[in-house]
């Protein structure tokens, strides 16, 4: 089975650990071997959360620089920061809604322009799918569903060996019952957004 390597980067609180769980469950449904690793030491203190997910017949649970087939960024400046994980063929998906780090507020850094971020990623990687996932999450019913919107875009690319149905099934079993319908709507909106962008 082909090996596919996915890096997800997010800011603490954006729900990328739940996104990992949904992907893991979908892999189980699709009978795809999967290994994941996450670094979330200070996640709740506003730091960056990074998950590596390896699908297929590989043993390692982490992904080296340049070895990601897919980079899914929950926050545009974090997507840019993780660019060293990509190579010239990597597909990058990013949310365009910024969460400026606190350092910007105290004048210890300048948030890059959104056009610049997109241009830089586009010229160095295989392809870029960029859209405002926050707007779609709100449309689905809650800003909290931004993680599921992004999963919709991820699955639309058909790079991972996971079916749309398996993710929907996983959403039903791994997310809170009260939010299942909203999450399914969020997933669909992300899926359509990626289809339209591409």
């Amino acid at each position: 089975m082909d090996i596919k390597r996915l890096i997800m980067v997010a800011v603490g609180g954006q729900g990328n650990l739940l996104a990992s769980k949904v992907l893991g469950e979908a892999a189980l449904i699709c009978k795809v071997p999967v290994r994941m690793s996450e670094i979330h030491g200070m996640a709740q203190r506003g730091g960056v959360v990074e998950s590596a997910i390896v699908f297929g017949d590989a043993s390692s649970p982490i992904i080296s620089d340049g070895e990601a087939d897919l980079l899914l960024g929950f926050e545009p400046s974090e997507t840019l920061r993780a660019l060293n994980r990509c190579n010239k063929d990597t597909t990058v998906i990013t949310n365009l809604a910024p969460l400026p780090p606190f350092t910007v507020a105290i004048g210890k850094g300048v948030y890059p322009e959104m056009d610049t971020i997109q241009a830089l990623i586009k010229e160095r990687t295989g392809s870029l799918i960029a859209f405002d996932a926050m707007e779609l999450a709100k449309k689905a019913g809650s800003p909290m569903s931004v993680n599921i919107v992004l999963l919709g875009a991820l699955i639309q690319t058909e790079i991972l060996p996971l079916t749309r149905e398996s993710i929907e099934q996983a959403i039903k079993t791994r997310t809170k019952q009260a939010f299942v319908d909203m999450n399914l709507a969020a997933f669909n909106l992300g899926f359509e957004a990626a289809a339209n962008v591409a």
Partner: protein, 618 residues
């Protein structure tokens, strides 16, 4: 029912490494568990804590790792299967009982889980705890994967009972914090009824007894060596003239690299899972017909030195390399591409590495350092202590300690000049106060105070030192994920049968004459009280009491009342520049407050020179 208790042999479920370890212990019939929480081992303890609430497993959060191991040593010597869990540096704290417990041994299986943290994702050093096995003379098992973690946890209990010695189960962050499918096994019945059979000549370590016990320990090490040589955890795969000896998570990187480099026919691999004592005969058999050998291990050259010594003893002269120039580093964790690169270079294999995109010429991306949470009371305390010291024109040294509040060293709070290990804030204050003429103000959290701050404080009172200790009492062990400690109200956890210790009473009982309790969100009052404490000659203690906002949020006890910046704001920016709460952001050059994250602690409202920050009207 807790998911790790399900009796569903052969079922495959996705588990975190720490959950896999917990399930392995449950399957082995674990009866007794002790811990002091520490990343990356914390979730293992948390799962056992939860399981203990549904079963007759005894679990405790002990006050520190030394205590945890001593409690565990008694349970194991009463015949119970026992686990003692800590992060790598925790074993330094527990080293005293460890060294002599190796002499005494155990009657029930005792597994000491030490979680090492190569790359220091959340630790103050990256020490390699395999040396504790060598130092104490204890067997070490090291899993390579999440699934194997469960099997090894089980095997560790068997091994411990076979040898009648504690077994060190050593993991690294990448095992503890990875997830994979794990196949569940049968759950062995738990025996929770212990019995201690008195035998002073085996258990009372006076010199005459210990001299015999040391002989016994060395005999046990010989037995362990024989077991290591035929252990199912030491595995040889493949065939070829190039030899690779590896351990832990590196084994996974080696497996992928062998495939990627297409060298299945050229390489054989010895994966060491039982690493102390090293399997000497196995190593001799493995290296004797190799053309060259590469040892792949994160951390120190523990196996490399052993392999070289074993080969030398057997008269084998093959080249054995591991750490060194163009080889592996003793620094930080490894990754798959690095292992592949070194293997290719050492064995002279051509390959095309994937090239990371060029990140030169990227605009500077603003840093996103971790920050104290919105509504964190530590922020208020640090701010007030700085204000008080400034008002008294004091030149300060501020030793800090291990916890969320270590983050206070970052700007704009910039409070934290010296951090060593748990409890060192108090003891190092004694040294700084004597060695310099600066005013010393140190910071320690409630859990850390119980862990090892009390002894330092007793020292300070006895030796009549001169400094102010600030105890940041947020009522929980926050940093590692909100675990209990002796000062915690256990009704928050819906738990009965615990007592609660007042830090104020402890401090007074230790003889501190100047003790002040402040409510840190009352800024003016707090600053005045802190000024008095700072001016006191001798040991003074300030207890800053306010629950952890993040913990309250988790318990759904937090009632956020967001604040907002009104037009009165004249952009002094004291709020941002002095206290740096993450709820602030700038919009068109104006300070704004994110109403979704502001919890309404009102610290900023109290320091705004224009009184421009007010509660947001809904």
């Amino acid at each position: 029912m807790h998911k790790l208790l399900q009796n569903a042999p052969e079922q495959e479920i996705m588990l975190l490494g720490n959950e896999s370890l917990a399930r392995g212990a449950v399957e082995a019939g674990l009866a007794f568990a002790t811990t002091y929480p520490g990343t990356p081992s914390s979730e293992l303890s948390l799962n056992l804590f939860q399981i203990s609430q549904e079963t007759d497993l005894y679990f405790e959060y002990s006050t520190n790792e030394k205590v945890a191991l001593e409690v565990a040593a008694a349970a194991a010597n009463s015949g119970l299967r026992t686990m003692c869990i800590m992060k790598h540096v925790g074993l330094n704290v527990a080293a005293d009982p460890l060294m002599t417990l190796a002499y005494v041994g155990v009657t029930g299986g005792l597994v000491i889980l030490t979680a090492d943290d190569p790359s220091m994702f959340s630790s103050q050093n990256e020490q390699d705890n395999r040396y504790y096995g060598k130092f104490a003379g204890l067997p070490i098992l090291e899993p390579s994967s999440v699934a194997e973690a469960k099997e090894m946890a089980k095997a560790a209990f068997e091994l411990s009972e076979t040898l009648k010695e504690p077994v060190i189960l050593r993991t690294t962050t990448r095992i503890n914090h990875s997830s994979a499918f794990v196949t569940l096994g049968d759950i062995k019945e738990r025996n929770t009824k212990g019995e201690f059979i008195k035998d002073p000549m085996s258990f009372v370590t006076v010199p005459a007894v210990s001299r015999k016990l040391h002989v016994k320990l060395l005999e046990n090490l010989d037995k362990a060596q024989a077991l290591s040589n035929r252990s199912e955890h030491n595995i040889v795969t493949g065939a070829g003239k190039f030899g690779i000896i590896c351990n832990g998570v590196s084994y996974l990187y080696v497996q992928d690299a062998v495939k990627d480099l297409g060298i299945q026919e050229k390489v054989k691999v010895l994966r060491i899972g039982f690493s102390n004592p090293m399997p000497d005969q196995m190593v001799v058999e493995f290296v004797k017909d190799c053309d060259k050998v590469l040892v792949i291990e994160e951390g120190e050259p523990f196996m490399e030195e052993a392999v070289r010594s074993i080969a030398q003893d057997a008269g084998i002269t093959v080249s054995i390399k591991g750490k060194g120039d163009n080889l592996f580093s003793r620094l930080y964790e490894f990754d798959p591409a690095m292992v592949k690169r070194v293997m290719a270079s050492y064995f002279e294999i051509e390959y095309q590495a994937k090239i990371p995109v060029d990140t030169a010429n990227l605009p500077e991306i603003p840093q996103r350092p971790p920050n104290l949470c919105s509504g964190c009371s530590h922020r208020a305390t640090f701010f007030e202590v700085k204000q008080a010291a400034k008002a008294l024109d004091m030149d300060t040294i501020c030793p800090s300690d291990i916890g969320c509040y270590t983050l206070g060293f970052l700007p704009p709070l910039s409070t934290g000049d010296f951090v060593l290990c748990m409890g060192a804030s108090v003891s190092s204050s004694c040294g700084f106060a004597k060695a310099t003429d600066k005013k010393v103000i140190s910071f320690i959290g409630d859990s850390t105070f119980f862990h090892s701050g009390m002894t330092g404080l007793a020292n300070a009172v006895f030796n009549n030192h001169n400094f102010t200790l600030v105890i940041l009492d947020n009522g929980i062990t926050a940093m590692t994920g909100h675990q209990p400690n002796p000062g915690v109200d256990m009704s928050l956890f819906n738990q009965e049968g615990y007592n609660r210790i007042s830090i104020e009473n402890v401090v007074k009982a230790l003889g501190v004459e100047h003790v002040t309790v402040i409510k840190p969100f009352k800024v003016k009052k707090s600053v005045e009280a802190i000024k008095e404490a700072l001016a006191f000659e001798g040991v003074s203690v300030i207890i800053s009491k306010e629950p952890c906002a993040l913990h309250l949020k988790g318990l759904k006890l937090l009632k956020p009342k967001a604040f907002t910046v009104t037009d009165r704001c004249k952009n002094h920016r004291d709020c941002i520049n002095e206290i740096g709460c993450p709820s602030f952001f700038l919009e068109d050059g104006k300070v704004r407050i994110d109403a979704t994250t502001c919890v309404g602690c009102a610290l900023c409202a109290q320091i705004c020179p224009e009184n421009a920050i007010v509660p947001l009207k809904k």
